[in-house]
Subunit: 433 residues, 2 copies
């Protein structure tokens, strides 16, 4: 069922992509959803174990290992207060020769000064030693409470178990062990076929609070068995993240630990060579596959946003530029008032218009319009009589779509978010108790 759902999305995505980029003939490229996450692609093993970092005794240490040297690239939080794991990865990437991505949950190891830097390095070294690889080939990530030190003794004790548990079907255990307030583990994978060549891209993310990525993302781990040079991978990853995770918000707070990491190990034998003669088609196919996975993970984060009762998609069209479309969509996605109205199933479109108004995006004085669950509520900058009861009923669905036409151009963007409920407040008032 999950696979079918993603397949349908992949199709929609394809149409979108064809409009946005000058993609090659679609006939030769197919993007199909497959099961799994970080171990969906060939040549990866993963594990997730309990190290005792979380008070809840749930799994909290995860690693995914490539059986051969891989290219890797990433995007990183623009928060100036950043965890040492983020700084470490940003210094290392893009790179070739990468072997593993390590992540702990329950402790963000942010705002921990020099000790925090040492602990991150020590964690990478522990795992590297157990795997008999270099520390530099191990990427590190952390998530959880800010301002706490990593319990290094517990991590040291857990690393042998972690390495022992590595398995080609360990993607689910990995996805489980990186969760904090997430209610569901999040995975997505696709098989991309271009003519007779095929490769797989799969990944996982963690939400669910402090989600407002800025030029980066929350924690995301993606693996592929395509071969991609670090420079090409870097360019593609940054572009795709900008169109997916950077249009996502749960609560407007950009985290100290946001990071999206992608490893490409070439185990499929398919080489993505960049926009050189003959390579264009494969690059577009890879970008398409990566977009599909990231976009699906985005929706999974929004649906599992802290306290969320529904997922919300905000489509802005008719903008002068993609940047303005994005600004308008994100302003609505971030508006607390709009999100409370969504929780109350109240078609209070005035709050949506208000957020567009302060977004900085240019709109038409005579043509700006808003649809809520497909119902026209504001047309040509004038209120429209509509069936409020019908709108109220439609808003109770698990996915609510808001369409905004700015009426001044041809550019568009989509933002992802969720509603704002009592439970968001509850979760975050009691987070550390």
């Amino acid at each position: 069922m999950h696979i079918k759902k993603i397949a349908a999305r992949a199709k929609t995505t394809l149409v979108t992509r064809l409009r946005q980029v000058q993609a090659p003939k679609a006939a030769t490229t197919a993007v199909a959803a497959v099961k799994g996450g970080v171990t969906a692609a060939q040549g990866y093993r993963a594990a997730g174990v309990k190290a005792g970092i979380k008070a809840s005794k749930k799994p909290d240490l995860a690693v995914v290992v490539s059986d051969r040297a891989a290219s890797a690239a990433g995007t990183f939080t623009r928060n100036a207060i950043r965890a040492s794991s983020v700084t470490r990865c940003e210094n290392l990437l893009p790179a070739s020769g990468v072997r593993a991505m390590l992540c702990n949950s329950g402790c963000a190891n942010a705002c921990t000064g020099k000790q925090g830097v040492k602990d991150t390095d020590a964690t990478a070294a522990l795992v590297a030693k157990a795997l008999n690889i270099t520390p530099k080939s191990v990427l590190t990530a952390s998530t959880g409470v800010i301002g706490k030190f990593l319990p290094m003794d517990k991590i040291a004790a857990a690393v042998p178990n972690l390495v022992k548990a590595l398995s080609p079907t360990g993607g689910g255990a990995f996805a489980q062990a990186i969760m904090t307030t997430d209610l569901a583990k999040k995975e997505s994978a696709v098989k991309v076929t271009v003519g007779r060549r095929s490769f797989t891209i799969g990944g996982t993310v963690k939400g669910s609070g402090m989600i407002h990525p800025n030029m980066a993302t929350m924690l995301c781990f993606i693996t592929t068995d395509a071969a991609v040079t670090p420079a090409v991978l870097n360019g593609i990853v940054k572009g795709v993240v900008d169109r997916t995770f950077n249009n996502l918000t749960v609560d407007g707070d950009t985290s100290t630990n946001d990071m999206a990491l992608v490893m490409a190990n070439g185990a499929s034998g398919v080489e993505i060579k960049g926009h050189v003669a003959g390579g264009k088609e494969l690059v577009a196919a890879f970008e398409e596959g990566l977009f599909t996975v990231c976009n699906d993970l985005c929706k999974q984060i929004a649906a599992d946003g802290e306290g969320a009762t529904k997922r919300v998609e905000i489509n802005v069209t008719g903008a002068r530029s993609e940047a303005e479309a994005k600004a308008a969509a994100k302003a609505v996605a971030t508006s607390n008032l709009t999100k409370c109205a969504l929780f109350g199933n109240d078609p209070n479109w005035g709050r949506i218009a208000c957020a567009v108004g302060y977004s900085g995006a240019k709109f038409s004085d005579t043509r700006m319009s808003i649809k809520l669950c497909g119902i026209e509520v504001f047309k040509n900058l004038q209120p429209v009589k509509f069936d409020e009861k019908k709108a109220h009923t439609l808003m109770k669905k698990k996915v609510v779509v808001i369409d905004i036409d700015l009426g001044v151009g041809k550019k568009s963007a989509t933002a992802h978010t969720c509603d704002f409920s009592y439970d968001y407040v509850k979760i975050n008032a009691e987070y550390r108790t």
Copy 2:
């Protein structure tokens, strides 16, 4: 009691002001809190009546009238979606010859197109006719639900009662009639004495949601019996609003109807002539008085923020510039996660550091520090061991102070906000039901 409280604040403010501006010798100037709001100054009458705009049948139409022509200036929302009342006032001001400020609650008359513009003009004309003054001398403001038209028949029927009710002690009725989700009416006034000359400044504001003023403010009405030319008044008002209301947030949503209006009618006989020879001292005293009133009203809005259980003051020091100090203070004040932690009395300072990190303000790698309720929790960018139970207990108070030292300069700013509770969500999920 209220007066005493404000007097204490006025004193603090004075000290602050002396540090920030090159004020004249303090000995000659005194700013003392007095009772009242828009009718505290001489030569003003006000009223608030029930026109039936609100479904709750509470007072919803208010006016304050000067018995002589007054100078007036204002600041206005930077939201591009703006009510016709805002556009009308911005076109009229700064001006001399102003006689009245009119405000309705229960209907924002925003997103109402051409009809909305006509209705605003018609409302001003109705009141002008009843007072036998020109429509241009009546300033207009609206607050309430966006996208609804003003019930013009009800307003027309209520205007005679409104004018009949005008009284030199009507400031409280005015403050009452402009409320929407506010739980308490908000008034503040001071008597400013410079040598043997004295004048009064008094005002009122409405909160309590969609509060995140940007180069403007929520609805604020201030009157003074000092004589100030429109140009001088305009400059002083913009400066003071920038240091008070523009550092205030309840929920991060900048309203379509924000506006701060100030009338100066000269009834005290004291003339504020601008920074010319001999006038400097009076300008500084007037600015000081206006700052005291606006700052006090700011605190009252924060304390009565939708769903608030406490008021929060964020003091940032050690910044490179006032703009960066303000950016850091406002980022913390706007952070949903910080505000949920404040509601839960959780000394989770990591969220404060996180917000400073994404604010864009420069901070020192070795000297950035945070105090929560006076307790040092983060020092020199390192976590500090502190008594969490004591912090938890102190955070239960009605006013919580957060001190952040960026450690890179000498500039400072203060932001005002409240915590984020279940009730904020409840109020805004059910606002129109």
